[in-house]
């Protein structure tokens, strides 16, 4: 492990807020974050992503307005909207469908707060996780009762505005047996305004429950985001993650899924579209810890200008996890000579009776396809836009409802148009 000491400015912010994590959970993390410091490029897990931006104090927040939200409320009027601005919970509806309970961490009792942090308080050498545990003051516990079918999506809108310290949030999602829910996280920021969020989400899916989890990084080209999801699946549970990141100065998402019991299934779908000098990075770690479990992972990066996209997908199949099926693909589009894509599948298989396949490709826009579109009178710029949007569409089409598919397709098209116009 290669570590840089925790930057002074970060050390000085450690005790600024009353932490939500209680007693020993907090004190342990508080000690370890200082001990471990920030990872450097020499750390295998961080070799492509430089946290240099965090070594200096963040720019002092100006008098900036709260960034606009995702605009999803117009698309999903029935959804349940929860808003965090600069890491602070600013909106949480009181009226909820049966079977859904929301408990802001600020109002949670000691036991509830312990429950939110204990499952993922610290892991060795993981300073960003320890930092969250040591300093997070805000967050939410989402409880979905057994057998509840929560139809309206639960939307967590993160309005990433600058603050003196990082926005540290902790979210716990508990899906009761046989329940079903959709959780959508959105991140937006004002362009050119630096903010940093270091967030952690822990989801526990009980037997036969289903959670669809969308994480959508939208506006805000100067956002810094270090974000973790830790998900455990009990017997027959189904988890689908769709991770779409369209911008940010630095976005590092880590998605850890642990399939602990038989019959469970996990989908991990992702699309990252870095441009300018953005770095968009996702690391997934999927553990098949039980027999007869399945997974489907599809990631795509479209890198333009000097953007960098990073995808590392680790799949671990435990020794007695026989009869599992794991499929992974990483398909990437490199649109400019100064863009960069790093992709790495990492399969560790200890069982012998498994079906695992993986593949990674990095390509350019297809000249034949471009010519075909041009031969129909479509301008080069529009033809490129169609092809890029078409490539992205393969992931966008996996979004749960036609409304979401159309909305996201529209966002991507408009973005490509804006780029064309530049």
């Amino acid at each position: 492990m290669s570590r840089a000491p925790l930057p002074e400015w970060l050390v000085s912010t450690l005790d600024q807020q009353e932490p939500a994590a209680p007693g020993e959970i907090h004190t342990t993390a508080r000690v370890q974050v200082v001990e471990w410091g920030l990872p450097t490029l020499r750390d295998e897990e961080w070799r492509w992503t430089n946290l240099r931006a965090l070594t200096r104090p963040l720019p002092k927040p100006q008098q900036t307005a709260t960034p606009e939200g995702s605009g999803l409320n117009a698309i999903l009027p029935q959804a349940i909207f929860i808003r965090f601005a600069g890491g602070k919970l600013v909106e949480c509806p009181g009226e909820l469908p049966d079977g859904l309970r929301l408990t802001p961490l600020r109002e949670a009792d000691l036991d509830q707060r312990a429950a939110a942090f204990a499952p993922k308080a610290v892991t060795p050498n993981d300073a960003l996780l320890a930092l969250n545990t040591a300093t997070a003051a805000e967050g939410l516990i989402i409880d979905i009762a057994a057998n509840a079918d929560i139809k309206p999506p639960i939307v967590l809108e993160f309005l990433d505005a600058p603050s003196e310290t990082a926005a540290q949030t902790r979210v716990l999602v508990r899906c009761g047996p046989h329940s079903r829910a959709t959780l959508i996280e959105t991140a937006t920021g004002a362009d050119g305004v630096t903010s940093w969020r270091n967030s952690v989400l822990v989801a526990a899916l009980a037997a036969n429950s289903q959670l669809t989890h969308l994480s959508l990084g939208l506006d805000g080209d100067a956002r810094l985001l270090t974000d973790r999801s830790f998900v455990t699946l009990a017997r027959d549970a189904r988890y689908r993650s769709i991770n779409i990141q369209l911008g940010g100065q630095l976005v590092r998402r880590e998605i850890d899924v642990n399939i602990t019991d038989t019959g469970a299934h996990c989908d991990l779908f992702g699309l990252m579209m870095p441009r300018a000098k953005q770095v968009l990075d996702t690391h997934t770690r999927l553990t098949h810890g039980a027999a007869h479990t399945t997974s489907d992972e599809r990631y795509q990066v479209i890198a333009d200008e000097s953007g960098r996209g990073i995808f590392k997908g680790r799949i671990l199949v435990a020794q007695d996890a026989q009869k599992i099926e794991a499929y992974q693909s990483s398909r990437n589009l490199l649109l400019s000579d100064s863009a960069e894509i790093d992709t790495k599948p990492e399969l560790e298989i200890y069982a012998d009776d498994v079906k695992c396949s993986h593949g990674a490709t990095i390509g350019r826009l297809d000249d034949e396809a471009l010519y075909y579109l041009q031969s129909r009178g479509i301008s080069t710029a529009n033809a490129r836009k169609l092809l890029i949007a078409g490539f992205a569409q393969e992931i966008v089409d996996l979004l749960v409802t036609p409304e979401l598919v159309e909305w996201m397709g529209g966002i991507i098209s408009r973005r490509l148009e804006r780029q064309n116009a530049q």
Binding site: D366, Y372, S375, G377, I378, L387, G390
Partner: protein, 251 residues
């Protein structure tokens, strides 16, 4: 009226000369068929006219509708009313057919100074065309040619042609790989375009297309040159006797 005039056209792919002095004149209202053995340069001619990169014109001229065609980009040629039907239409998964059709039609309209087409009118027009071409509307929402059978791809080429209403259609083996029903549908589509102000070029190996779409002229292309031209009876003669005699007589 001359729609297309090709004079002494030479072209190479890489270092390899393929077209070696083509002369051809197409007037509005005419249908021309180009036949010839494999590798004689028929598709190359189509692609040169389409403006494909990597196909270099080394000599000669092409005048289309009074303009120097060779100076125009591929998309300018298309918006000027030239349409290329591909021998092997490419598959573009992810780009829905309907988007291609709409973008293409709007590009044509923009070139003529018209506004973007109203979505309702567009859908109505497209649905009529899918019906004409015997295609299910589901094709509109699939990726362009993605996973289409050979015949479906060719129907799709004709559908695009009928939507865009080109002045000059160059159809490269649009009849290859079609069963008899599909051939009828495709031929009817081509006949729908036929008109006094339009020109059509059919590249084909088979007389059977030409019995549905009767050509005014038939040309035989061999080793990058038109070695013989005639009327529709030339295609019948080829069908009956094969290329051998004609090639020998010409050499």
């Amino acid at each position: 009226m001359k729609l297309l005039e090709i004079k002494n056209l030479h072209a190479k792919i890489g270092d390899k000369p393929i077209l070696r002095g083509i002369n051809l004149c197409i007037n509005a209202g005419e249908v021309h068929a180009i036949m010839g053995p494999n590798g004689s340069g028929k598709s190359t001619l189509c692609q040169v006219l389409g403006g494909r990169e990597g196909f270099e014109v080394t000599e000669g001229s092409v005048t289309y509708d009074g303009k120097n065609l060779l100076e125009l980009s591929t998309e300018e040629r298309a918006t000027a009313g030239l349409l290329l039907g591909f021998q092997h239409p490419v598959e573009i998964p992810g780009v829905k057919n309907i988007y291609l059709l709409k973008e293409a039609l709007n590009a044509q309209r923009a070139a003529r100074g018209l506004d973007e087409i109203d979505t309702f009118a567009f859908m109505k027009q497209v649905r009529e065309l899918t019906k004409t071409m015997g295609m299910d509307d589901a094709f509109l929402h699939r990726g362009v040619n993605a996973g289409f059978s050979g015949g479906e791809k060719k129907r799709n080429e004709i559908l695009q042609m009928l939507l865009l209403q080109p002045k000059l259609a160059l159809l490269d083996e649009t009849d290859s790989g079609l069963d008899i029903d599909a051939l009828k549908v495709v031929s009817e589509g081509i006949n729908m375009l036929r008109g006094a102000d339009r020109g059509i070029v059919l590249v084909t190996h088979y007389q059977r297309l030409l019995s549905y779409v009767e050509p005014d002229f038939v040309h035989i292309l061999y080793k990058g040159k038109i070695i013989k031209s005639g009327d529709k009876s030339l295609a019948l003669q080829l069908e009956a006797e094969g290329y051998q005699d004609i090639l020998e007589a010409a050499s």
